[in-house]
């Protein structure tokens, strides 16, 4: 029996990082260190191409990030959510403007649930990037679809899609949109982003390192990926995966903010001494560190539960998203406050992390909504009306 299996036999899954995960982390960190410095990230937010497609290609194809969750039989790496979560920690640390979460996790989870081998194979090697068209702020429960289908003109295969979806993350660099749409049947439809009936407008977003887009569908041609309950399950699986892996991304954000804060407290001198020697400030960063150690356990547990198809996964994901949303936000806000004036400037990286943290704390369900979900999941019912 492996050490991991023995730990599982003793109760909870392995919450540490395995050797393979540590190697993957090093590779991703090295890539992002070379090509994703914060000056470049900041500069890119003020250009028309807010996503770094070259960097995404390197992460997705060269490092195999796109295919982590995809089985080897479909051309992927056959890894698991444990590895995907580690990559997300790194993209969070670097506030990397790449659609890893939207394509390699959320859209991929929907396709895995729907068992769509054709698209999975195209996503696996990074050749195609996909996005599920639900509002980033949705979750943890799937919203009612705002797009609908109509039958194609006689003689043409497939479906036509109409409607609008607001505030979608990671859709701007996508080649294929996965659209949940009402109609008979309700289903999940694959629509080429370049179709004449598709219009994606970039949104001026709070977090420009993950720029949102508004989608208008006006007779776009779609292929049905799944329908009915299969489609609903696929969307739900995608939202669960999104919340779980976003939690690990938030952990990375929190860790990086804590590191920047600690470094500054050591270097900045006032009253003739480093400000990090003041107990009032020490205690604030110590509390952030404590929160990070707690959140890490929750994020690892969520990733392990999804990797092992554990029945406790819904509880694990709610715990992780709640804990990591809170700590990322707190770490970023403390980072700003403890940097003082410089932290409030455009010229300092803190605002990139603060905006990522605030936006992510709303993405795939707020901490409050995830805790509210625990009322049902853990038998903690509210007041009797």
């Amino acid at each position: 029996m492996s050490a991991t299996a023995e730990r599982a036999a003793a109760g909870l899954p392995d919450l540490l990082y395995g050797e393979h995960e540590t190697e993957l982390r090093a590779a991703v960190r090295s890539l992002l260190g070379d090509r994703c410095g914060w000056h470049e990230v900041l500069a890119r937010t003020e250009t028309a191409q807010t996503y770094d497609t070259g960097l995404w290609r390197a992460l997705a194809a060269d490092l195999g990030g796109a295919g982590l969750l995809i089985p080897e039989a479909s051309g992927g790496a056959g890894a698991s959510y444990r590895e995907a979560a580690v990559v997300a920690e790194e993209t969070g640390r670097a506030v990397a403007p790449v659609p890893f979460l939207g394509s390699a996790v959320v859209a991929t989870a929907a396709l895995l649930s729907a068992d769509d081998d054709e698209l999975l194979a195209a996503l696996a090697d990074g050749a195609v990037t996909a996005a599920l068209t639900i509002p980033f702020a949705a979750g943890p429960a799937a919203p009612e679809p705002t797009a609908r289908i109509a039958a194609s003109p006689p003689g043409e295969p497939g479906y036509r899609l109409y409607g609008t979806v607001a505030g979608i993350a990671d859709a701007l660099p996508a080649d294929v949109l996965l659209v949940p749409a009402d109609g008979v049947p309700y289903g999940l439809y694959a629509v080429p982003a370049g179709d004449a009936g598709v219009s994606l407008s970039p949104v001026v977003s709070l977090d420009m390192t993950r720029q949102l887009a508004d989608l208008t569908l006006d007779g776009a041609a779609g292929r049905r990926v799944a329908s009915g309950e299969t489609a609903r399950r696929a969307v739900a699986a995608a939202l669960t995966a999104g919340a779980a892996v976003l939690a690990s991304e938030q952990l990375g954000v929190a860790e990086r903010c804590l590191e920047m804060t600690v470094a500054y407290l050591k270097e900045r001198r006032q009253f003739g001494r480093p400000i990090g020697s003041f107990q009032a400030l020490k205690h604030r960063v110590a509390d952030v560190w404590v929160g990070v150690t707690q959140a890490r356990a929750a994020a690892r547990y969520a990733a392990a539960c999804l990797a092992g198809s554990d029945p406790d996964a819904p509880v694990a994901v709610a715990l992780a998203k709640a804990a990591c949303s809170d700590i990322a936000l707190r770490a970023a806000q403390e980072c700003l406050q403890l940097h003082g004036g410089i932290g409030f400037t455009w010229e300092h990286p803190t605002h990139l992390y603060l905006k990522r943290a605030k936006s992510s704390s709303i993405g795939f369900g707020t901490a409050d909504r995830h805790r509210a979900a625990l009322a049902g999941l853990a038998d903690l019912p509210g007041p009797v009306a």
């Binding site: 003793a10 392995d14 001494r273 020490k282 110590a286 150690t293 715990l319 804990a323 038998d379």
Partner: protein
């Protein structure tokens, strides 16, 4: 590699030759220790087999299933959680042989003589003196210790005393094991806000301590004490528990049993506390996995901080929830319990007892200093006692 299954077979083989139903309880425990099935992560010859710590639960479960007697770990928390790892890390081979077996079987309860009336958070400033016995091999110890749990039950104590007042405070300390039955040791109960006396004051008056009972070198006491304290924080904050174990358990039961007491505000608090308690449990599990994998992290201090905060917030919540029941109190009479009881008795007791959790075993403020300075590497607070011989410090 030895697996949990191998160990289960070993336990069954041991049980086939040692019937727990017919054997004397202590004889059974001593034989179990000698068979290396006491704590498998300890070395061979000292009750273990040099295996990973995470294999222990399988062994304990197998013994429990056979109805074997336990070593009543709840009676000897300081012995098992703090004294044993300290003796293992810093004791001589002779001390390990002499002390660990009766410690593990529970024949000898240990307590901890660290804090003093004048040395709490600033433990290194302690004033209890150990001087060489002019007529013999050993030491003569004089001073006063306080907050000593289980001193009235203990056979031995972990003791830190000042052996050199002429050097800065951290450098003049030496660590000993003190025999609590030695002449000059006087234990007096110290009554606490719950009405009972879990703690004691211990007065040491010319107590003889053999040099053979010194742990670590003369002047190295601070290093040894720091090791003990780190184990204490792991023991307090990193204990294994099931979901809804610990303080959240009674709060959640009350919530489910009394729908009429629920309000929206309390519901929000319950969801937060339940989530935080469960995350803390996961973090405690992760901490133990790190220890088992030989990657001991500094997370013990985090676990202890969170444990204290949650115990306080949950017991505050539970008292508000149950109302009526919380404004009554079971019993204020003075008692001397056998060990610390955080989660028992009534809600008023739990609320009061939890106030101590952020003070005992290192205040939450000192733990934050430790995290900031030792984990995060922030510069030390400007201090007036650095480099000053202990005897010249203002007191």
């Amino acid at each position: 590699m030895t697996t949990a299954d191998d160990l289960r077979s070993e336990v069954r083989a041991f049980l086939s030759e040692h019937d727990p139903a017919s054997m004397d309880r202590l004889d059974f425990l001593r034989e179990r220790y000698d068979a290396g099935l006491a704590w498998v992560h300890y070395p061979a010859g000292l009750g273990g087999r040099g295996l990973s710590r995470h294999l222990q639960p399988a062994v304990d479960a197998e013994f429990a299933a056979a109805g074997a007697p336990t070593n009543r770990p709840e009676r000897n928390g300081i012995g098992l959680g703090m004294a044993a790892p300290t003796i293992l890390a810093f004791g001589s081979a002779e001390q390990q042989r002499r002390w660990l077996r009766p410690l593990w079987t529970g024949e000898e309860i240990w307590c901890q003589l660290f804090s003093e009336p004048g040395a709490g958070s600033d433990l290194a400033g302690l004033a209890t003196r150990a001087v060489r016995d002019p007529g013999g091999e050993g030491w003569i110890v004089t001073g006063q210790k306080v907050w000593t749990s289980s001193a009235h039950l203990a056979r031995r104590a972990l003791l830190v005393a000042r052996t050199d007042p002429d050097v800065p405070k951290h450098q003049g300390l030496t660590y000993f094991a003190c025999d609590m039955t030695a002449p000059g040791v006087e234990v007096r109960p110290l009554r606490q806000i719950t009405g009972e006396a879990e703690f004691n004051e211990v007065f040491l008056t010319d107590v003889p301590v053999p040099d053979a009972d010194r742990i670590g070198a003369v002047g190295e006491g601070w290093k040894v004490a720091t090791g003990t304290l780190m184990n204490e924080r792991v023991a307090i904050g990193g204990a294994a528990a099931p979901r809804e174990g610990g303080m959240i358990g009674s709060a959640v039961r009350a919530w489910r049993e009394h729908p009429g007491l629920r309000t929206p505000g309390l519901h929000d608090r319950l969801l937060r506390l339940w989530a935080d308690a469960e995350v803390a449990r996961l973090a405690g599990t992760r901490l133990r996995q790190q220890l088992a994998a030989g990657q001991p992290g500094p997370e013990g201090s985090a676990a202890k901080l969170v444990f204290a905060r949650l115990n306080q917030e949950i017991s505050e919540f539970e008292a508000e929830l149950v109302g009526d029941e919380a404004v009554r109190y079971e019993d204020w009479s003075m008692k001397r319990p056998e060990g610390a009881n955080f989660y028992g008795r009534d809600v008023g007791y739990r609320y009061l007892r939890a106030r101590g959790n952020s003070i005992e075993g290192g205040t939450s403020e000192i733990l934050r200093n430790i995290i900031a300075e030792r984990v995060l590497g922030l510069p030390a607070e400007a201090r007036v006692d650095a480099g000053v011989p202990w005897k010249d410090l203002p007191r």
